[in-house]
Amino acid sequence: MSDAFLTALENTLTLKVLLVILVSASYGLFVGAIPGLTATMAVALMVPFTFFLDPVSGLAAIVTMEACCIFAGDIPTTLMRIPGTPSSAAYVDDAYSLTQQGRHQQALGVSLVYSVVGGLVGALVLIFLAPQLARIAFEFSSYEYFWLCVLGLSCAAVVSRGSIAKGLIALSIGLLLSCVGLGSTHSVPRLTFGIDELITGINFIPAMIGLFGLAEVLRNFSKVISDSASADEAAKAGTSTATGIWLSRALGEVFGGIGERLKRSKSRIASSSVIGSAIGMLPGAGADIAAWVSYAVSKRRATPEEKGQYGKGSLDGIADATTANNASLAGAWIPALVLGIPGDSVTAIVIGVLLMKNIQPGPGIFTDPVQLPLVYGIYITFILANLLLIPLGFLAIRSGSLIIRIPRQIILPLILMFCIVGAFAINGSYFDVGVMLVMGLLGVVLERFEVPAGPVVLGIILGGRLEEAFVQSLTKSDSLTAFFGRPIAAGLGVLCIVLWVAPLVSWLRRPSPGTQSAPRLDR
């Protein structure tokens, strides 16, 4: 063991590998920060290059890129309200509200530090528990996945801003949208209204860009006369005076108070990372569900006055959700390395790269003296990548924050352009741009009636999986009791039911409908 570890250290801590890590970290940050481009896309673009790197560098590149990409997704989420990844959709309202208060650097600072913490804890779970945990994936059949999807969706509906009924409206819109097209569950196309293109279905990335990004552009365009200057001034006030000791001031702006916060939130970090790793290591469930569940748990344990902040700029919410989504990354490598079953789309590519390097993922990888150093190499890179993320992420935050200072006559058209290209990029299709436009208009309508947009996105993502798990379960057994037939399924099922019954009970016991909500003005 220690021999292999030393070999791994020797292989990893070379100038070449470190250089590869640095380059791919910058590349990951860059791609992740561009709306519409996902970590999977970044890795796929990189794959042809990994073929002529040695295995250690190749895998190091992928690990680093993935970690950096997921954090970088928070940058457009915070600054432009375009979620970089679906997992950022859980806290887009919080992050963007902070930007409007001129506190974007603080928001991104929290997101960065907690991403790193989550990533490191996730890596530790991978390092110490991978072989033991991997087999848990085999305990998860369609029943467990069904409940897991219900849990993720319930969290989104129950915790999102506004009333539960409005959350449910959003959720059902998302689920309906997920039914469009020819899915894998049924052999006939649905809800296509005779439009051939709709057979493809609604891709969640253009939908997400539309619901958040374009909706915001639309709102800002129409608002431009009333207060065109004020928001800029607010943003400038926080940032523009930095001339003296630049670095310490900049560090203060991004990381101010973070040490205190970390000390206070030890138990939150622990629970969020556990949620992240646990969900991440299940094939087919990843950072998105992890972020939502963790956000819900976070809101649940908040004090009443903190609770009011959720959805309007809660740093705790951002912290817990980013911890979980980064912890889930390493989790996805567990089934990939141990069983050769990809935990998500990035690890699916990783398995391809491993095969390319004549490495067969599977239990053998941990006993083979040639391959073991490589596994340790992956571990070491996970740690290195996350540590490197702190300085690089800091630079990215600083340079990204310049966006806020660009006058809106220029930045709004640019954001509009990025919405269009981002929607186009994922499938290279203008149909997706159309989807983005329709979703943008839907986003405006939803916002007008204070219906949260986050659950719509999650509904689109999880709708297909939920239905699939549901149909599969009923194909296997006609009786509904089978949904509670196994310990894990029963546990998750009860959890979901409690999640729904608890607010219902408190709602029924509420004295009168008139006092239900105080006037809530977002801005």
Partner: protein
């Protein structure tokens, strides 16, 4: 940087400068775009992959793109046009403009989709270039399964029809039909084994491991990891002969065990019919160099790559490929025309159940909200400065501005293919920033710099094939 005075007096004159600047832009970008030469290929090629990033077909496509790029000396970008069980990608690739700049990665689904009336696209709409790979389907059971050989399995199916459960793909997709065809060849009903639809081989194999499934039908490379680790067992391969590769040669074919059934998943390249013959010839020549292993990229050949990935690399040149496609198509016609597959396969839950549940949920929650809002409204009409009355969009100019955003997106969708990405973007950037009150020069500067910048970023660095159009 700019004092924005919304109500300037001379709006007419402004509009004129606006048009002038727009025209200038068009000319400018057309100038910069006029560097097209006539020799093929003179600009980037798009390779359309109908399946998602990370899967087997994506891996093959991306590697092929690397080889084509080095042989043709022009960028080859992979686009994953996914969805519709392959309809989307195949239509996009095969129905593209026949100019040689869109190549289609075709998979065996092309032979079946039209039999299911999902599309009227058939292999005859494509000009086949070269097939690249043929991986046979195979039957897998869990290591502790009672079935040791295909004979055991056959006996069980005959004894207890409609009881065993299998998966591997969506219903009526490739591996489902592989299993169905095998059952038909045994004189069994295709529905004698229940097919549980799934996303693909990986989740199916996982379900197999949980013990909920009896059988998985998928290709050998897809099951390699669990085969090597000894978690699953291969009962039979649906090929004429055993696989040549060391990894798989131990596994018996169905033929050895008395069945005549074979089914092979294939991948191959095609191009839109009507593509100039000289372009087709050039591509085939290049492909021959690649599949023969002659062409090398970074010291590695195509065949070495395919071997390492566990993919077979049998290839068939144009006419042989066309022949193969024809036979493949007929075979699926026979299976899919059977009465069992004529009616819609509904299973225990019909396709309308889930949308109905979601719709019902939508209706119920909408009613709850409306009732709640109505009661609240009645209770306190006077005091609430309800947030539903945020009147941001009151002024006509504001409404015009947001309509302008919608119009910009629609304009981009319609015009980009004709005018080109850069030109269209520049026009939109110029007009929108102008409307928001920026100066003409600022707007023009932003429009030119940003549109070219975004183009270079996405097209050059990130390899997204943006439309080029007449100008740029």
């Amino acid at each position: 940087m700019n004092c924005s005075a919304p109500n300037r007096p001379s709006q007419l004159r402004e509009r004129r400068t606006l048009f002038a600047a727009g025209l200038m832009l068009v000319m400018l970008s057309s100038l910069s775009g006029c560097q097209k030469s006539s020799e093929y290929p003179s600009r980037p090629i798009t390779l359309v992959c109908p399946w998602a990033v990370g899967g087997g077909t994506d891996r093959v496509s991306r590697q092929m793109a690397v080889f084509l790029e080095s042989e043709l000396d022009t960028p080859v970008n992979v686009v994953n046009a996914t969805g519709g069980q392959g309809v989307t990608g195949h239509s996009r690739g095969i129905r593209a403009k026949p100019d040689g700049y869109t190549i289609s990665m075709m998979t065996l689904e092309l032979s079946m989709l039209h039999w299911r009336n999902l599309t009227d696209l058939t292999w005859e709409d494509a000009a086949p270039l070269m097939s690249l790979n043929e991986d046979p389907a195979a039957l897998f059971v869990k290591a502790d399964s009672e079935f040791q050989t295909v004979k055991d399995l056959e006996a069980a199916i005959k004894d207890r029809p409609g009881e065993l459960k299998a998966s591997g793909t969506a219903a009526l997709a490739a591996w489902h039909l592989a299993l169905a065809g095998w059952l038909i060849s045994l004189d069994q009903n295709p529905t004698d084994v229940i097919w549980m639809p799934s996303q693909g081989s990986a989740p199916s194999l996982q379900e197999l491991m949980t013990g909920d499934l009896d059988l998985v039908c998928c290709s050998l490379p897809e099951a390699k990891s669990l085969l090597v680790s000894g978690d699953i067992r291969c009962l039979g391969v649906m090929a004429d002969n055993r696989q040549a590769s060391d990894d798989f040669k131990a596994y018996p074919t169905l033929k050895e065990q008395g069945s005549n059934w074979t089914l092979t998943g294939w991948r191959g390249l095609g191009i839109a019919k009507g593509t100039p013959p000289e372009i087709q010839t050039k591509l085939v020549t290049v492909l021959k160099r690649i599949v023969s292993g002659e062409a090398r990229v970074n010291g590695e050949s195509w065949t070495e790559f395919m071997d390492k990935q566990g993919f077979d690399h049998t290839s068939r040149p144009t006419t042989e490929f066309a022949d193969f496609l024809k036979r493949n198509d007929e075979m699926f016609g026979v299976i899919l025309n059977r009465p069992e597959f004529q009616s819609v396969q509904s299973g225990p839950v019909g396709p309308n159940v889930f949308p109905a549940i979601a719709g019902g949920m939508f209706g119920l929650s909408l009613i709850t909200v409306l009732v709640g809002a109505g009661r609240r409204h009645a209770a306190s009409t006077a005091e609430t400065t309800s947030s539903e009355t945020i009147a941001e969009t009151a002024s006509p100019r504001a409404a015009l501005l947001s309509e302008c955003v919608v119009a910009s997106v629609v304009f981009h969708m319609l015009a980009a293919d004709v005018l080109g990405f850069v030109t269209t973007s520049a026009i939109i950037l110029f007009l929108t920033s102008k409307l928001l009150g920026a100066r003409v020069l600022t707007s023009a500067g932003v429009a030119i710099v940003a549109s070219i910048g975004i183009y270079e970023l996405f097209s050059g660095l990130l390899r997204v094939p943006l439309p080029i159009g007449i100008f740029w």
